[in-house]
Symmetry: C2
Subunit: 259 residues, 2 copies
């Protein structure tokens, strides 16, 4: 391992077959060691509805009960992961799909929260770098779905953004790491209504200001908190933008750095 | 690779959580290189029913249309595969779950049948032995679900017995291979009503006699045809029996050989 690129694709990319396909084609062209982490998309919710499995929420956050865990394991680790792997293979990218349980790459524990029980949600304890290196040596491109395990036989639902950040933080001790978040916008926007208002560079002090000014709000906050945690831990640079980043060199995107 | 043990567990083992758990515990104790292949169990049919997806049959054989393929990919490659992997990891067996698409280990083509279209069903073309060796070198125990791909992005439903046999036939060119089919009986029975009537040894000429006499019938015929194809191709010995085989040394079982 010398350079490793960790790329996370969000649910809106996964949901759009055409966009996903073009992204996978471009990703397969990225040279060197690389890892793909994918979000879940809307299929899990659709399936829950079709199967009349109620979605429990606590303060706007989904509770992963046993039925929900079965659904996300089927959809994330089964359907989406394997479709992505088969597509990458067709582009001659030697993909291998994984959960954190496979080859014991991501060990987690069930989230402890004194007020609420969010169910089978996992917080990552450590990344098995030797295991990951073994897979790179075997010549494969790991493709992670957002499922981990506790080492005691229990699968756990884990945020895909967090998995990408934890992988990058662990890899940076052994290699140069590049972390990229791909989503449906061209980057973090000044003005949500204006797709071209991409903020080209955000460091931690700018980030605090943008939050205080109400420019960065809602769902972008946990996303960027997660990024700045990785930057603080020593990941050098994180890029956020649209899938075109992998095709057009000077494509708009947001670069995040600690300083 | 010097010795490799390929073990296939049938649907009735997968369906019984307690039996499956005990088997996985025993399997994790098997020393040396090993591969697990698992059948689907009844969950895919249950899910199809819950989702009101009709099951199409032609002459008693299931047609895998697009909806059915999604279901089996979710259930086999997602739910069952990952539950097995997490359980094996808890027994310190470094399992890694796969379809044939992952690391491009099993390449197949959509079955060609001039009379009927069985849908997305795959017949295996070749086994990627170098890829498999890479995984063994990485120290993992491959766990295959019954899904392959065509290399052009299409996943395919493939019989788990066949996957186990094809793996064994490919491995035997490079290593000593032991192939074992685990199911709910203690072996091939003389008398279906008598669990203790296990036929201890069947070679090809005995097999032909047993079929002619109507002792081996129905579902056992494609199962054993599959085994004798592997034996004819040079796999030395195949054992068929119950999960206790992995715990009790002198447990009843059926040994199959070509001569």
């Amino acid at each position: 391992m010398v350079n490793v690129e960790v790329v996370k694709i969000g649910s809106n990319i996964v949901n759009n077959a055409q966009v996903l396909n073009q992204f996978l084609k471009d990703f397969s062209q990225v040279s060197g060691l690389k890892i793909l982490v994918h979000g879940g998309g809307s299929k899990a919710s659709e399936l829950s509805r079709e199967m009349n499995i109620p979605v429990h929420m606590i303060e706007g956050r989904r509770v992963t009960d046993e039925d929900s865990l079965e659904i996300v394991t089927m959809v994330y680790a089964g359907l989406i992961n394997k479709k992505i792997v088969a597509k990458l293979q067709s582009y001659l990218c030697n993909a291998l799909g994984l959960t954190g349980a496979d080859a014991n790459i991501l060990a987690a524990h069930k989230r402890i929260n004194s007020e609420h029980d969010y169910g089978y949600v996992g917080d990552i304890d450590w990344v098995n770098i030797a295991g990951l290196k073994g897979l790179f040596d075997a010549g494969v491109v790991p493709v992670f779905s957002a499922i981990t395990h506790d080492g005691k036989g229990q699968l756990l639902n884990t945020n895909a953004d967090t998995i990408a950040a934890e992988l990058a933080m662990a890899i940076k001790e052994h290699a140069q790491v590049k972390l990229t978040y791909v989503f449906e916008k061209k980057g973090v926007l000044y003005n949500r209504e204006d797709e071209s208002s991409v903020i080209k560079h955000i460091d931690y002090s700018i980030y605090k200001d943008l939050k205080a000014e109400g420019i960065i709000t809602d769902g972008m906050i946990p996303k960027l908190d997660n990024c700045f945690k990785a930057l603080e831990a020593g990941v050098q640079e994180i890029n956020i933008g649209g899938p075109e980043m992998f095709k057009v060199d000077n494509e708009l995107k947001t670069k995040l750095t600690w300083n």
